[in-house]
């Protein structure tokens, strides 16, 4: 029952256990099927967190066996359900983006124009692949209801965000590739005042109106 503040991973675990009981591995697997795109943490942490929750009395264990192998099933306790509800009433940490590719864009004056072009192309390809994954998943949920049918509406909200997020990366990368099309190298364009001014202004214009996803 030691109760220092729980990490977000713990609430994800509680949230999954709120729907049904799972084994540790199933739980870890479920997290890997999507939520980890919103809260990326090492797989190892999923097992550590579970132990912590049991120690805190928020999750209960029960022994079963699949064949001859024993497996522990985990379930939410009333205290755990309570904790989840209380968490939802508090304020979330602001979103954070980790984007090494964009760091490279900023530093690309120390590399070749081909390095820059390749970086942008890889960003676009990666985003397109992930978009496809989310689109596929949405179609699957729409057709079958998915693993958490009681949360389909919430999944719909989050999924729309993710698709838009990847579309934004794809759109930006396409635009950036067009911008650098005629650059002789990664250094010279800094001197072209008109072009620089235009690039800086592009960002400011981009948001009017702030894209309505369903329109």
């Amino acid at each position: 029952m030691t109760n220092r503040e729980l990490p977000t991973t713990a609430y994800i675990t509680l949230g999954l256990l709120a729907s049904r009981d799972w084994s540790a591995y199933q739980l870890a697997e479920q997290v890997g099927r999507g939520v980890d795109q919103l809260w990326p943490r090492a797989e190892r942490q999923r097992y550590n967190t579970l132990k912590r929750l049991v120690a805190d009395g928020l999750v209960a264990t029960r022994s079963e066996h699949a064949g001859k192998r024993p497996r522990t099933m985990y379930s939410l306790t009333p205290a755990g359900r309570d904790e989840l509800g209380q968490w939802l009433a508090t304020t979330a940490a602001p979103p954070a983006l980790e984007f090494e590719g964009m760091v490279r864009v900023l530093m690309s004056d120390h590399g070749s124009i081909d390095d820059l072009r390749r970086t942008l192309e890889e960003m676009r390809a990666d985003a397109a692949a992930k978009r496809a994954l989310f689109a596929e998943h949405a179609a699957y949920i729409s057709a079958t209801g998915g693993t958490f049918p009681e949360r389909r509406h919430l999944f719909g909200l989050a999924n729309t965000f993710m698709i838009g997020h990847f579309d934004h990366i794809i759109g930006w990368a396409t635009w950036a590739l067009a911008q650098i099309e005629r650059w002789p190298d990664t250094v010279a364009p800094a001197a072209d005042d008109a072009q620089v001014r235009e690039l800086l202004a592009a960002g400011l214009r981009a948001g009017e109106p702030p894209r309505p996803p369903g329109a």
Copy 2:
């Protein structure tokens, strides 16, 4: 000269030192002025990484003094410049998003509709504040050239991305708030098949065409 792979923070440091010499504190401060939105790491790491780079011979030190206090100035060695160039020729890690607010959206069937509404509003407000910061910074660079005038064009590319990113969050949150407007609670809408189907479809429609930022 121990050379296991360097972390991305190291390349950011090398990239800043490629423009001019800095003290450790100035360097840490510069990182806090923007790049940390693309590569968020604890401030502590900025000092650790610098020591590592000196040990590896990629960065050289020189003693100066501001008043009576001695301060160490850091500068890039030829080996360091080389390392930076080589890094740019390799492949970047894919972007990762850490978004606790969206995790709460997914779990919000265990909280009140007001919790959900508040979460969405906080997300929107936070994104609007950050967008304003980036817009301000762009105006400042446009007017004065900024601290890295030789990189204005690259900053323009990255800044356009960041503004679009925050606009996407703002736009999505606004849309989501409109969607939940008439929800009686966070649980019932799962039963409304038409609405769920509509929510899931919204995401798929959102990306055509994949928004050209400057258009």
